[in-house]
Symmetry: C2
Subunit: 182 residues, 2 copies
Amino acid sequence: MGEKAERTRELIRQEAYRLFAEKGFKEVTMTDICERTGLSRGGLYRYYSKTGEIFSEILSKEYVISDRIEGLESAEQILTDMLEAITREIMDKETSLSLAIYEYASLGNEELFIRINEAAKQRWISLIQYGMETGEFKPVDPDRISDLILYYYQGLRMWSRVIPFEKRTARYYAATIRELLL
Amino acid sequence: MGEKAERTRELIRQEAYRLFAEKGFKEVTMTDICERTGLSRGGLYRYYSKTGEIFSEILSKEYVISDRIEGLESAEQILTDMLEAITREIMDKETSLSLAIYEYASLGNEELFIRINEAAKQRWISLIQYGMETGEFKPVDPDRISDLILYYYQGLRMWSRVIPFEKRTARYYAATIRELLL
């Protein structure tokens, strides 16, 4: 795929992301995405054939850390960067995809979510194992701690749309995980 | 209110709970609740004037522990009982109210959720403080730990409807909290 095509796909994902965060999954149509991106129907369909395809790609995008682990960077530094990105996200409730995730799952896309959840979990497990190897992290059960990291985050993402959050709420998240690991 | 009236209210809440868990908040009507309970329209409206009133009462029902603390029961035993009730709930995904909560919140009921969240948090804080006083719990930051307990739980409740859970997932929750406190 050419560079221009990749830029267009990225634009589509960005605008669709905002729509899914605003309205959930079910209410977003390909027409909405045309309007937001300024693309014609033909232009949009050249890249994606339905909203589920775009949503699934958005969810599959990950914060990549394997190259940093292979590059032997400090596990604590990788952790710090990940927690920083996550706490910024937690405070930015407008970008929460919780409702869209819930709706898309209720339409029978369990396989996708199993895969995404597994990938996210594996990423955390690999960081935790790496940190234990370098001696930077305490000896913990990587499987158990990564469950906490993921579901605590999901609870915060959902409730950020239910009640107003103070900055403390996101800080607590990072502090708890640091304390469990360092 | 007479005993019979209280029994009827309880029946209404029970049946409505199932409907909210199944369909979320928005799609449940007073007519649905009449059908499920077998009450006439007049019969139902004698107790509740709208679905929001029933939902709000359901959410406000709490697991009461203040009398156990006042009765000087062991903090560890209270914790064990609470975690047991919660892990049972986590595995029972049919009773998850996450979508209904999300929808009801999006209709502008922030005050209610702030109140419910505060009450739940206070309940945990009081148990944690009590456990530290009796020397059964480690010295921790009650505010921070109760945040973890509540949002980790909410994340699990939501995701129990997105992916299938193994028993381990609920066990991890209880094990993590026990380890943080005991």
